[in-house]
């Protein structure tokens, strides 16, 4: 297993380098630059700014310079947020995005597998149908609709929580995070519940479960010791794509709830051609997705003894 991890990391590093390279050249290939503004600046000023950021150099040299700085851990200055460096921007935004992402995933896994299991064990009852209806609704309503609805109902009409933003004094307080987390988790709860239901139904009909029952084990033991362990496997392989979905979902959530995460930068910076910020966020996202996929694979092995890491 140790060798497996080393090999995976050995593959991950070139993968990230390729992603960085592709992103770098794709960004530069897009027409328009960071300094093409509504109000054109004097050409001399424009040239000076380009030179300050090294953007007057040939593209290959910009790439070499960027990679050189990156190897020393320097993500460079933001081209649009001119008083800040990319590392500062990410350091400010990442904890917010990560907090929302982690708790949404935890909520989605906990609630999704609970609901899915209940639906499977009560197959074709009203409980099953209502959970599956809920799941269908959760998958169908996109976060940019669900977010404002939740904010209206629980923020404005009921007045239980604020409708957006972080607390300027205390930062990430539970009342400010609860709606974004639920909004982000809802589609995942729904998907996980459906996955869990299907897989649980399959497992409880299999021979070894029948054997376990025949041996006279209690229902609880059958479900927890035998069924759950197999039923959860498809869920684990879904964790990789799920985390990617949560990351991309956070772009919408951060806008709707006016949260200062890095998802917003990803969109804004790409539109404004803030090359360095886009690159910084791409690096973070790519590394995260690779890391989470690796974790999902490892977890899979822990749960499924048939998997061998060699």
């Amino acid at each position: 297993m140790f060798g497996f991890v080393i090999r995976r990391i050995g593959v991950a590093i070139p993968t990230i380098l390729v992603i960085i390279t592709v992103a770098f050249f794709m960004m530069r290939a897009a027409p328009g630059g960071p300094f093409d503004l509504e109000r054109p600046m004097p050409e001399e000023t424009r040239q000076t700014i380009l030179a300050n950021y090294g953007l007057d150099q040939p593209l290959w040299r910009q790439y070499v310079n960027y990679m050189g700085d990156l190897m020393q851990g320097d993500l460079g200055p933001s081209l649009k947020l001119r008083d800040k460096r990319v590392s500062e921007i990410i350091a400010e935004g990442f904890p917010v995005s990560a907090t929302i992402g982690i708790f949404s995933m935890a909520l989605a896994i906990a609630l999704g597998s609970l609901l899915g299991s209940i639906a499977a064990l009560r197959q074709n009852t009203s409980g099953d149908f209502s959970i599956m209806t809920f799941a269908m609704v959760g998958i169908s309503i996109p976060p940019f609709v669900m977010g404002p609805i939740l904010a209206l109902v629980f923020g404005l009409y009921l007045g239980w929580v604020p409708t957006g933003g972080l607390d300027p004094r205390y930062g990430m307080t539970p009342d400010r995070l609860i709606l974004p987390i639920i909004t982000l988790a809802l589609p995942q709860i729904a998907i996980i519940a459906r996955l869990m239901r299907a897989s649980m139904i399959e497992v409880i009909r299999s021979n070894y479960i029948r054997t376990a029952r025949a041996k006279g084990l209690s229902a609880t033991a059958v479900i927890f010791k035998h069924a759950l362990r197999s039923a959860i496997l498809p869920l684990v392989s879904y964790l990789g794509p799920a985390s990617a979905a949560v990351l991309s979902g956070s772009l919408v959530i951060e806008r709707v709830f006016q949260l200062p995460g890095i998802g917003k930068h990803f969109v804004d910076a790409a539109l404004q051609r803030d090359y360095t910020v886009v690159m910084g966020v791409v690096i973070i996202y790519a590394s995260l997705i690779i890391l989470l996929n690796l974790l999902a694979d490892l977890l899979y092995g822990v749960l499924n003894p048939k998997v061998k890491y060699d």
Binding site: P31, G32, E38, M41, T45, E92, P174, T220, F224
Partner: protein
């Protein structure tokens, strides 16, 4: 049993969430009067020489004061200037500065102005907005690297006397000098910290508020500067500026009392807002115009009759009343009503003709220009993917197609950056755009038609008579005569129609009725120092 196990997981998750989210900064003094302002977007810079947006102006103008500043109505009033003399030819202004100090106690001197204006002129500063100061002698040459920086027309006669020389008489100078490009900078701080002088730990200000904290995409926190010369008349102790890109979300926060003010709302929500929170909605004329540029260097748009035909066939009332809502006014000229030093009254000859007749006339004009079924008029209309622009595009396409079936506009949508890159490179046919003035004077609109303003003169309109008239008006000392000359020039521009005016902007604010001291005004600038909360005033009276 299964349920309890899973419930436990959920509960553990929830309590972990609660724990993780505790912590953070310490509370500020609870007696402080705090104002929460929603403010368009994240400031790109708080350095007055690097900023370029109206939303940055709101923050920077709370922190710094120039020779002039705005009163609550947005009109220019003396700021750092106590009094001033103007030479007979109107080219030399001598300002006598008030006694004031930076927030660290160092006095503000005339040298701080000289330092700041030389810094913004230097190309290595990279000031995007320096062209605003071109009326100052030598400024344009210096920014282009063609003249020495220390030759620009600003001189410190002594610590409290500043002499400014101009390229031409500028009756709008007080308004211009309220703009942040002309603010003094604390020389001792900028020289010590370089580009990092603007960070909360380093910055010193001469305005009512000092920068306390700045979290990207979260908020900018300003606190009262007790050293400010008019501090006794300031009510609000703390002001938070939040970037509110999503106007609908910001509207909810205003309605919920989380924000006192947001400086925009979606026009389509007007009826809803008027029903729910009528005393929050503030709509006022604003000094900006939405207009299309036609590329006059192309053969098809070189003929003023063709340009007029396309201009007259657009139903501006429909766009204003049905698409944009919220008080937008149809525009038949470039300069909006209410702009200072200007008589107005300019409009296209066909502005009062009903739209059906205008379409018939447009058809006749185009036929006379040689277009018809055998020679269709095909062109591209390019627009930005932001705001209301995608909703306007199909309307104008429909309006143009209604002239005749051989008028065939094609819609092309672009990202903002690509759009302006194309405009700069003269790679467009008809393109949307808008202009919001930086200071309240007709010239800040009319320069857009001067040929020397290319590329900001996107249509590449080249009319020497127009350029001469505008230049002559700028040399005129009598403001009334100057205004008439400006109006004559604008009439030339409107008759030639290189640009198609569509609507005049309005400012749309949501203001909690608890806020007092807010006055709607044409520049849409509302300094926090004039505001207070009536709830806080009552609290203090008890």
């Amino acid at each position: 049993m299964i349920r309890t196990a899973f419930l436990k997981t959920v509960l553990v998750t929830a309590s972990a969430l609660a724990l993780a989210s505790c912590g953070g900064g310490s509370p500020v003094d609870s007696d402080n009067i705090i104002l929460h302002r929603g403010n368009t977007a994240e400031p790109l810079s708080l350095d007055p020489h690097k900023a370029s947006g109206t939303w940055e102006n709101h923050i920077i103008g709370d922190m710094f004061i120039g020779l002039f500043t705005e009163d609550a109505n947005g009109a220019p009033v003396p700021g750092m200037a106590e009094s001033w003399d103007v030479s007979e030819d109107g080219l030399t202004w001598t300002f006598h500065l008030r006694e004031a100090s930076w927030s660290d106690g160092v006095p503000v001197t005339a040298n701080d102005f000289v330092f700041a204006w030389r810094r913004i002129a230097a190309p290595e500063t990279g000031a995007q907005y320096v062209s605003l100061l071109y009326p100052i002698a030598g400024m344009e040459a210096a920014t282009r690297g063609e003249g020495p920086i220390d030759a620009i027309g600003v001189r410190a006669i002594d610590d409290r006397t500043l002499e400014v020389s101009l390229e031409n008489p500028a009756p709008y100078l007080p308004g211009l000098l309220t703009h942040y490009t002309s603010f003094p900078l604390p020389q001792h701080v900028v020289e010590q910290y370089g580009d990092e002088w603007v960070r909360p730990a380093n910055i010193q200000v001469n305005g009512a508020y000092r920068l306390e904290d700045w979290r990207t995409n979260n908020f900018v926190h300003l606190v009262r500067n007790t050293g400010f010369f008019d501090n006794d008349n300031v009510c609000i102790d703390d002001v938070y500026y939040y970037p509110t890109v999503d106007n609908s979300a910001a509207g909810r926060r205003v309605r919920n009392g989380e924000l006192h003010i947001n400086n925009n709302f979606p026009g389509q929500q007007l009826d809803f807002l008027n029903r729910e929170i009528p005393d929050y909605v503030r709509i006022a004329p604003y000094m900006g115009t939405i207009y299309f540029s036609m590329n006059t260097t192309l053969d098809i748009f070189s003929d003023p009759n063709v340009r007029n035909a396309l201009g007259m066939s657009i139903d501006r009332h429909f766009i204003a009343d049905e698409i944009l809502r919220a008080g937008f006014q149809p525009a038949y000229s470039l300069v909006p009503p209410g702009v200072a030093n200007y008589p107005g009254g300019v409009e296209a000859a066909w502005s009062d003709t009903p739209i059906e007749e205008r379409r018939a006339e447009a058809r006749a004009l185009l036929e006379a220009a040689g277009f018809g079924p055998d020679n269709p008029l095909r062109f591209e209309y390019t627009y930005r993917a932001t705001g209301d622009n995608p909703r306007i595009a199909p309307v104008v396409q429909n309006d143009w197609s209604a002239i005749a079936d051989w008028v065939q506009p094609e819609l092309i949508v672009n990202d903002t950056q690509i759009h302006y890159d194309n405009l700069r490179a003269n790679d467009f046919q008809i393109a949307d755009g808008g202009w919001i003035a930086d200071y309240n004077d007709a010239y800040n609109f009319l320069f857009l038609g001067e040929y020397r303003s290319v590329p900001m003169n996107y249509s590449r309109y080249n009319n020497p008579a127009y350029d001469e008239m505008v230049t002559a008006a700028n040399r005129e000392l009598d403001p009334v005569v100057r205004g008439d000359m400006m109006a004559q020039a604008e009439q030339m521009l409107v008759d030639d129609m290189p640009i198609i005016p569509i609507v005049y902007y309005v400012s749309k604010n949501l203001v909690n009725p608890d806020v007092v001291g807010w006055e709607d005004n044409i520049v849409d600038i509302h300094r926090t120092r004039y505001m207070c909360l009536s709830s806080a005033m009552e609290g203090a009276a008890e």
